[in-house]
């Protein structure tokens, strides 16, 4: 990601009325803050260690984590029932919740098939990158 | 704003002022004062040509002595737009169009003229008298509307005027010759209508593959010929 892209991102951020955006990939995190007082953008970049993949073992518990920052929604706003609740059986790559970033709904995706044992995030929680949304009991061979 | 608006339209009910009303923010309707005759209609055609070029105007659609103006972008200053429209109307000239004459054979009454009895009841005329009065004039196409290729005709004898139906009729076949209030026309395709259908013709009026797509345009003329009368 180069400086131009960062500047583009921060311009859009301001236009979108968002205060902060955090982008991550393994080993790298970029946080962009838009200051409303000074009308300047602060761009932070740091090397961090992030566990991106849980290694499943037989009947192990794994955490489903966020891959982008946003406000957690367990239920789609047009629906009444949440994507999952404790006891739900989920497939790998299925949607278990949403992260709301402005008017974007980014899916939180189950990293493995299993049964939901604990939903850690609450509706409306502002979650950062890599935070645990729920814990699955993995049904692995 | 709305109150002003209503006051204005009330003022405009005076016989010699045009009436302008809103169609939401999509457009507005300009209604000319006076008779629904060819002189007024020619001024409407002229007004349509003028207003089409105005900024913010998508399309102008002539009706029977009225004009619908469709906006690309609704004007920020509505009063100013209305004032310009009225000023332009005051100076409007008659646009004379030398159109073609089309002869239309019509079967009156029967299954394809299901409301002829309502016209008989309302006018207290016989079917022969109604047909004679309906086939007599050379009608001018005043405007197109209703559905693709449909022509609103001017020149009907008011003796056979019959109010529109209380409830529109669904699924009438194309080619329906009908009377609605003081107007007459021919439908170009099957569909619903609130008019009284008195007969049927087989002419095709619209083909989207042709340019122009509509067979007739304002200024053309139609003569109905009674091919058959079913009592």
């Amino acid at each position: 990601m180069d400086l131009n892209e960062l500047q583009q991102l921060s311009t859009w951020l301001k236009a979108s009325g968002l205060g902060c955006l955090e982008l991550s990939r393994p080993g790298k995190t970029v946080k962009i803050y838009v200051s409303t007082d000074l009308d300047v953008e602060v761009i932070e970049s740091s090397d961090v260690e992030v566990q991106t993949k849980a290694v499943p073992t037989r009947s192990s518990l794994i955490d489903v984590k966020t891959k982008i920052a946003g406000i957690f929604l367990p239920t789609h706003p047009m629906r009444e029932t949440p994507f999952v609740s404790v006891g739900s059986r989920v497939q790998a790559n299925s949607i278990v919740g949403l992260l709301k970033i402005g008017c974007i709904y980014s899916p939180v995706v189950s990293s493995a098939a299993g049964i939901v044992r604990k939903v850690k995030a609450n509706s409306g929680d502002l979650l950062g990158y890599g935070e645990t949304v729920l814990t699955l009991e993995c049904e692995c061979e | 704003m709305r109150l002003n608006w209503i006051k204005q339209t009330v003022m405009h009910q005076e016989r010699f002022s045009p009436k302008i009303s809103l169609l939401g923010t999509t457009g507005l309707l300009f209604e000319a004062p006076g008779e629904m005759d060819l002189h007024t209609q020619r001024r409407i055609w002229w007004l349509a040509n003028q207003v089409t070029g105005w900024p913010g105007v998508q399309e102008t659609v002539p009706g029977m002595s009225n004009l619908m103006v469709i906006f690309v972008e609704p004007p920020g200053d509505l009063i100013d737009f209305q004032t310009r429209l009225v000023e332009t109307w005051k100076n409007a000239r008659e646009l004379v169009i030398e159109g073609r004459i089309i002869d239309l054979p019509v079967t009156y009454g029967g299954d394809f003229g299901p409301h002829i009895n309502d016209v008989i009841a309302h006018t207290r005329l016989t079917i022969e008298e109604i047909v004679a009065i309906h086939t007599e004039p050379l009608y001018t196409v005043f405007a197109l509307g209703s559905h693709p290729g449909y022509c609103y005709l001017g020149g009907m004898n008011p003796r056979i005027a019959t109010p529109r139906r209380k409830v529109p009729v669904l699924g009438l076949p194309g080619g329906a010759v009908s009377i609605g209030g003081a107007q007459t026309g021919v439908s170009a395709s099957a569909g619903p209508s609130g008019w009284n259908t008195i007969g049927h013709t087989d002419m095709s009026f619209f083909d989207p593959k042709e340019n122009p797509s509509a067979l007739l345009s304002p200024g053309d003329m139609i003569r109905f010929r009674a091919e058959r009368i079913i009592r």
């Binding site: 859009w12 789609h76 | 169609l23 509307g145 209703s146 989207p208 122009p212």
Partner: protein, 334 residues
Amino acid sequence: MIEILSTAGMASVQDIGRDNYLRYGVGNAGAMDRVALIAGNILLKNQDNAAAIEVVIFPFKVRFLEDTVYALTGADANAEMDGESIPPYWVRQAKRNQVLTLSAPRSGARVYLGVAGGIDVPVVLGSRSTQLRGEFGGHQGRTLRQGDLLPVGSAQHPKSVGQANLGPGFGIGPPQISLPLGDAVGPSRTFVRVLPAAEYEYYEEESLDLFWSTDWKITSQSDRYGYRLAGNTLVPKRDMELRSHGIVPGVIQVPHNGQPIIQLRDAQPSGGYPKIGTVIEADLWRLGQARPGSFLRFVETSYEDALLASHAVRDYLNRLRRLTDLYDLCGAQI
């Protein structure tokens, strides 16, 4: 190509609609919920007026005959693809031969199935919308049938091609959430704003009060042509026989029986019944999602407020555009 595997009827190909042919008697046609159509096109990186399938009777089932990026907007049809539930206002990828099933929504009326590149039926008189009355436009000028094959246009934006790894896709905030109107009384009542029209003041004072203050039931005789409403009888001060004049989608006519009809996308572009008001353009999408059997409430508005309402819709769509661009860029970085 998309193959229609099953349809219960009335589904049609629609874009924003057909402008500039009203004076030939050709009505607008186009999506009943235009906001949903455009939102779908934003998700797909299409032009705003790319054509989609408007579905109104369920179930509706299609097979994608090639890898296709598609979007679902409008009502929530509890869509399913290979056992996976697809949320509303969502974009994602279908692999060749995957089947998408839409079921009856619990609320809302119309679902838009759009594809990257748009449904590529021929443009007739400036639009791909189906002109049902004229029997042209859309797919062979008619509603869709089982076995119909619809061509998909080539995606214009490089991003939509690059969305091959879209995975579960992503969604956007629906206008129902972002542009709320009226008190929260549930899905059985829809509020729409109305500007008085030419014959407004020719109605009895009491009728006008009832017009604004009571529920209007959308009867079963309601479709893309118009909604016939049932409620109190609106009484004019005197009988009116008007000269035929142009009308637009949203015009509320009152035939002699005193029960209003709202003219909609497939309505004829002219009429002669008295007009009591017009549902403002910014709220027509709400009508598109109001179901027969449910109720409407008319909210009086001013021209200025109606313009502001249009701006609010435009701002919402612009916000979607900016944020989907932003999200795509982020997505590429993750």
